[in-house]
């Protein structure tokens, strides 16, 4: 049962996962990936670089907002947080995924 999830499933779930992580507070790419790895017990294998286009797309859709923070080392880091429409989108996602979950449970019950 330790197989990695299929690419399609990973891609489809990236939006609700990113939105859910950001719903817990603002965060940056690297830490978001670590959170995903931890929460999924390593079963969700994301090609790390692919997170960033996802974040960019969500930003374009105004579901998340981003700002750059300059650290002590002088290096910039991009932080993301959920926007109001992002919270609403997350609610919709939750309903949809619950519907899928409920259907499968009923079928497999």
């Amino acid at each position: 049962m330790s197989d990695a999830l299929s690419k399609d499933l990973v891609a489809a779930s990236s939006k609700p996962i990113v939105l859910s992580i950001l719903a817990r507070g603002e965060n940056y790419g690297y830490a978001i990936l670590q959170e995903v790895r931890e929460r999924s017990n390593g079963r969700l294998e994301w090609t790390e670089g692919m997170l960033y286009p996802v974040l960019h797309r969500l930003e374009e859709q105004k579901l998340i907002r981003a700002h750059w923070v300059v650290g002590e080392s002088g290096r910039k880091r991009k932080y993301y947080r959920l926007s109001r429409s992002g919270s609403q989108a997350l609610e919709v996602e939750r309903e949809h995924w619950m519907a899928v979950d409920g259907t499968l449970k009923a079928l497999w019950g």
Partner: protein
């Protein structure tokens, strides 16, 4: 520069060479790469190996760039417009140079007046606009690669872009301007452009130059409202 810095710099240039990759995307990916390298350091791996592992985990540059492009199709169109505009401006200047050469061959050099001045002035303006445009796109590219020797402020870069666009517009209107000045007897007969040809040229130039310019201006303006001047200027240039 240490070995690892050289490797990171090279990796960053490879990323930025991809279409659709903006400086801010590369900044963010570089931050990730550095964090991963830092995490791997202290283990059994050599410095170079930590870089290789971290870069491999981030994934293929082409695939990442393609995803970014997919996530923001407007930026691809912005870039196409820019290249279309610069190509068109080059052709305009070449056409105008040809016209001037023809006029000077026809006319005695002793004739002085407004008309004699108009075409060289338009030509020079067009040429400077072309140079400005080339500098501006070149600057954006160098800045993206981190190899720029200049540190132009966003304001001065905007000025250069504005100058390039203005030059293009003046070039577009030049045939009509010539026609109008000839009607006012400012230009001696034979100096103005043949009317049907000038109207055709004007319409073609309007179509190819002004329409995309206005569309580009709207896009840049919308981006600027959202992302800040620097991002919009760089995004349009690379």
């Amino acid at each position: 520069m240490s070995d690892i810095e050289t490797l990171i710099e090279g990796w960053r240039c490879t990323l930025l060479a991809r279409e659709g990759m903006r400086v801010e995307h590369a900044d963010e990916l570089e931050d990730h790469l550095r964090l991963e390298i830092a995490r791997l350091q202290g283990g059994a791996l050599s410095e170079q190996e930590t870089f290789l592992v971290a870069a491999h985990r981030l994934g293929n540059a082409d695939a990442i760039a393609a995803e970014f492009e997919h996530a923001d199709p407007r930026s691809a169109w912005r870039r196409r417009w820019i290249w279309m505009l610069s190509g068109y401006l080059g052709i305009s200047v070449a056409l105008r140079a040809d016209l001037i050469a023809a006029r000077y061959a026809e006319l005695a050099p002793s004739r002085q007046g407004w008309g004699d001045l108009l075409f060289p002035v338009v030509f020079i303006l067009g040429l400077t606009a072309l140079v400005a445009f080339a500098w501006w796109t070149g600057y954006a590219r160098r800045a993206a690669n981190g190899t720029s020797r200049f540190s132009a402020s966003p304001r001065s870069r905007q000025f250069v872009l504005a100058w390039a666009i203005l030059g293009g517009i003046v070039l577009s209107f030049a045939p009509l301007l010539g026609q109008w000045m000839r009607q006012l007897s400012w230009i001696p007969d034979g100096m103005g452009v043949v009317s049907s040809r000038s109207v055709f040229l004007f319409l073609m130039q309007l179509l190819f130059w002004l329409a995309p310019t206005i569309a580009l201006a709207i896009l840049v303006w919308r981006d600027r409202a959202k992302q800040g001047v620097r991002a919009a200027v760089l995004a349009a240039g690379i």
